[in-house]
Amino acid sequence: MDSLYHFFETFIVSYDLFIAAMFLTVGITVCAFMFALVFGLFFAFLKLTKIRLLMWISDFYVWIIRGTPLIVQIFVLYYGLTNIILMPTFWAVTIALAFHVGGYLTEIIRGSINSIDKGQQEAGSSLGMSAALTMRRIILPQAFRRAIPSFGNQFIIALKDSSLASFIGMQELFGVANLEGSTNFDFMTYLLVVAVYYLFIVYVFTMLVRFLERKMSVSD
């Protein structure tokens, strides 16, 4: 009973710290995901060009992303980026996370583009639409719809992976839990508190994805 009371007390006392940190976590993840979509589209297109060298570059990127731990990628990119240009930690971390998520989105986007019936491309062509126009107006909208559940998954993974940003000093959710836990000599309670925040935002975004999925499926 006492420990339950203690948990809620901690929760309420730390409320404003964690709310701010939650916005930072969501901010990093949303920004990273948007950049990741750009990376994913770019490398998916490289792969679809069927030009040997470009396909190889795309494969290489995906291989690196899949083959190394995210924490290594974040450190390398963070120090790499901040060494080359003066860049706020937020953006360095965001770009590092985006680069990581982009590797997974590359595969998802490529797969969903390939899953669109070839007849769609042919129908576009037969109407005089260029390959690029058909891609933009016909193929991609369908491919994105089809990819929404996978995007949602990847987003939620990214949300939790963003906790690694705390290792380079970002005071996002996990960073705050870490700091508060150690200054108050009460790690466990703060870890449980932060878990509740993660559960909450993951729940909200799961609902959002489900809503999008339903809304987008009206047409097929």
């Binding site: 019936d117 129908a123 037969s126 109407l127 005089g128 126009l133 719809r145 097929d220």
Partner: protein, 246 residues
């Protein structure tokens, strides 16, 4: 109407898929307002001919002349050429994320750069013409096969093509839906649309076709008006084929 104008002329067209010689020295002409029907067994190359006519496939040799102009895939912008050659597919290939109207106005707006309100007006007119006024804002998934194919016809017509290609437009339909699509095609033919049709509907070929080409193993081995070809085929292989499908 000047029925003497040649819309399509094909000379010595050859097409290979790898080692497979699919089209062999195809010669054919399509005059303005004419309905040319291609018949032949499965795998004889009917679809490939149509797909060469709008350059979805590139021929390996021979010439294709559209409206008196030799089309060279290397120098011509094929997208511009395809605007003039409408195509209707066996499996409709409607855009599932767009409504009926959205399907019809997409290419006029994005390719021909027609102002949206005009494209919408023309589109609604075309949808009416194929008998689907009550489906304008419906998505393809809510349509029957016959309705889908009529939308596909309206979509192709929206580009105001000089000629329409039909690749087995009724083969994927339930029998009771075939009639409505054929009726739409017949109406088009009566309005003077130039058409090349691949079909197994011999009734349609006989009634609406002006010229029948019988394709066997990549070669046109017999051609003539429907009466000649159906009632008095000269070639043994044509007779054999007809006895199976009639």
């Amino acid at each position: 109407m000047d029925d003497k104008t040649e819309i399509i002329r094909v000379e010595k067209l050859n097409k290979y898929f790898g080692d497979l010689h699919v089209l062999k020295d195809i010669d054919m002409t399509v005059m303005k307002s004419e309905v040319v029907v291609l018949i032949g067994a499965s795998g004889s190359g009917k679809s490939t001919i149509l797909r060469c006519l709008n350059f979805l496939e590139k021929n390996d040799s021979g010439t294709i002349v559209l409206d008196g102009e030799i089309i060279d895939p290397k120098t011509h912008n094929l997208n511009r050429v395809r605007e003039r050659v409408g195509m209707v597919f066996q499996h409709f290939n409607l855009f599932p994320h767009k409504t009926v109207l959205g399907n019809v106005i997409e290419a006029p707006i994005k390719v021909k750069k027609i102002p949206k309100d005009q494209a919408v007006r023309d589109g609604i007119e075309l949808i009416k013409k194929v008998g689907l006024s009550d489906k304008i804002n419906v998505y393809p998934s809510k349509l029957s096969g016959g309705q889908k194919q009529r939308v596909a016809i309206a979509r192709a017509l929206a580009m105001k093509p000089d000629v329409m290609l039909f690749d087995e437009p009724t083969s994927a339909l339930d029998p009771e839906l075939v009639g409505e699509v054929l009726a739409t095609m017949k109406q088009l033919a009566e309005e003077g649309m130039t058409m090349v049709v691949v079909t197994h509907e011999m009734g349609f070929a006989r009634e609406v076709g002006n010229k029948i080409l019988y394709l066997h193993d990549g070669k046109i081995i017999e051609r003539g008006n429907p009466k000649e070809l159906f009632e008095n085929p000269q070639e043994e292989r044509t007779r054999e084929f007809l006895s199976k499908v009639l």
